[in-house]
């Protein structure tokens, strides 16, 4: 019988612990498919964050390291500098990457550290039960912004791709979503491009996934995707924010 669909080799058989309707599963799969297609599983070292994806080390079949909260880019830096031939990636959430780990993120990018960062932005802290994240939208209700995020006291959300694309060390930055087939396909292309950026030795790459958290947002999975489209995407526009590849540079020519 012809096989028409199977699990990527770079994913283990472990059942994930993610909530129903969470997009982590899709994103894991996209990364694993790219590891398979680029033949990178054997040379890959992934770094798991603290947050919902903390146990990503159980789900990817490549070698994995679990990092202290926010420090994944520093851990990845250590791995990549020690083993330049390894394909090194981090998988981080918004609290991990844009709050406690801001310094590690920004400086890894500024150094042009030749690693891939996969950033899952769902505008809320999932693992600890729905607190305000650095990317929580103005007015958005969370456990720790119960009256809606008041920018006068809690400040404004951080647009990570825009921020990092100002740095010379960032080679590739793209914001994607996995809310529909078209976006999932575009997201996969972005993941592959990020790995290719590393393989080409061009420096730091980041793919930001605008994601949903039905559990902590208090929606059904499909309602959550509607809310994502209506509220997240206007604040966090999808698109390529930086691409230093020859091809992209060529396209930029008039």
């Amino acid at each position: 019988m012809a096989v028409v669909f199977e699990k990527p080799h770079a994913l283990t058989d472990a059942p994930t612990h993610y909530c129903p309707g969470c997009t982590h599963g899709i994103i894991h799969r996209l990364i694993a498919e790219c590891l398979d297609e680029l033949g990178l599983e054997g040379s890959a070292v992934g770094v798991a964050p603290v947050g919902c994806a903390v146990m990503a080390y159980n789900y990817f079949s490549c070698d994995m390291i679990q990092s202290p909260h926010g420090r994944a880019p520093a851990i990845a830096t250590g791995v990549k500098r020690a083993l330049p031939s390894a394909a090194v990636f981090t998988y981080q959430g918004d609290g991990d990457l844009a709050a406690i780990g801001t310094a590690e993120t920004v400086h890894a990018a500024a150094r042009g550290e030749n690693i891939c960062v996969f950033f899952v932005n769902n505008a809320i802290y999932g693992m600890t039960g729905g607190q305000m994240a650095p990317t929580t939208l103005p007015g958005q209700v969370t456990q720790t912004s119960p009256y809606g995020r008041d920018v006068k006291t809690a400040g404004y959300p951080i647009r990570v791709c825009e921020l990092l694309s100002t740095l010379d060390g960032t080679a590739f930055a793209q914001r994607v979503a996995v809310d529909c087939v078209r976006n999932v396909l575009a997201a996969k292309k972005a993941v592959k491009k990020a790995f290719q950026t590393q393989l080409d030795g061009r420096g730091f790459s980041i793919v930001e996934f605008i994601s949903s958290c039905p559990t902590n947002w208090g929606f059904t999975p499909s309602e959550a995707l509607v809310w994502l489209r209506e509220h997240m995407l206007p604040y966090y526009p999808l698109g390529v924010y930086k691409d230093t590849s020859a091809q992209a540079q060529g396209e930029a020519q008039p």
């Binding site: 054997g42 040379s43 070698d63 679990q66 250590g78 083993l83 310094a103 590690e104």
Partner: protein
Amino acid sequence: MNMAQRVLMKGNEALAQAAIDAGCRCFFGYPITPQTELAAYMAKQMPKVGGVYLQAESEIAAINMVQGAAAAGVRAMTSSSSPGISLKTEGISYMCGSDLPALIVNVQRGGPGLGGIQPSQADYWQATKAPGHGDLHILVFTPSSVQEMVDLVGKAFDLADKYRMPAMILADGLLGQMMEPVEIGGKEVPVPAAKPWAACGHRNQREHNIVNSLYLTASELEDLVKKRFERYREIEAKEPLCEAYLVDDADIVVAAYGAAARIAKAAVRTARERGIRAGLLRPVTVWPFPKKDFQAAARHASRFLCVEMNMGQMVDDVRLAVECSKPVGFFGTTGGVIPTPAQVLEQIENLSGGAR
């Protein structure tokens, strides 16, 4: 193979060269007085041996880069001074929890807070009791000369690899800044033991390795910590190091480590000249603490005097080691003040009650 040469070197620089000689090829740091020469030496020398020198954005990032390199299976180190070590404690705890070997150098200065920049031993408790959160220990070596800054580095790396845990060289500003003649080099760069647990890419040859410190099932974590503590007990039995100077017949035993031990040694020597049976026990490891050496000395000594460049930290371990069988006095200077041999001698003379 180069012959070992006797050269004049600063402690910080000698330690750095010794680390390179021990096969360390990854250094991640952040400038802080009085350890900066170590980082500067690495910045200059690492590129010449194909190694990595990286100035991180913070001590936190530096220790995590060490963790990444250590997880990838290479010899990696960082160095800092007291305030910077406080920032590294998070990473040290994770490395203990992930069973990762690495070297951390603390060239201590006065604290707390920003404190001062003069030599101090005020981080003894931090190094030996709580170098990070959780049930853990790290190996702690306390050199007392520039030569020992060299000699203990290879040992620290080897034992860290053997027992899969971080090791610390607990030095101070005096040892870091002073120059002394050292014999350095002249040995083959060792090939560190294989690390089959490392996350370095499985090449499709084995199951994936996971370097991790998270265990959500309490009993699983307990089992793991207990197993780690069996290793700690083995280390406590096998690895303590201590120098005994004129201790065999000593009535008054001075306990001191690192820079303070040098000063104490001068005082002990003068005390002997004055007919006082004084001796010096100098721990070279403070975790594991050389309890047996102190217990042996307690059989004939009438009292102990602990001399430290702090308000009294190791003195607790001395009291525990002798199980309070003999009085243990304390003399210390703090804040970066270095005690003088005359001050220590006065303490010894007071304890001897003028008995000659």
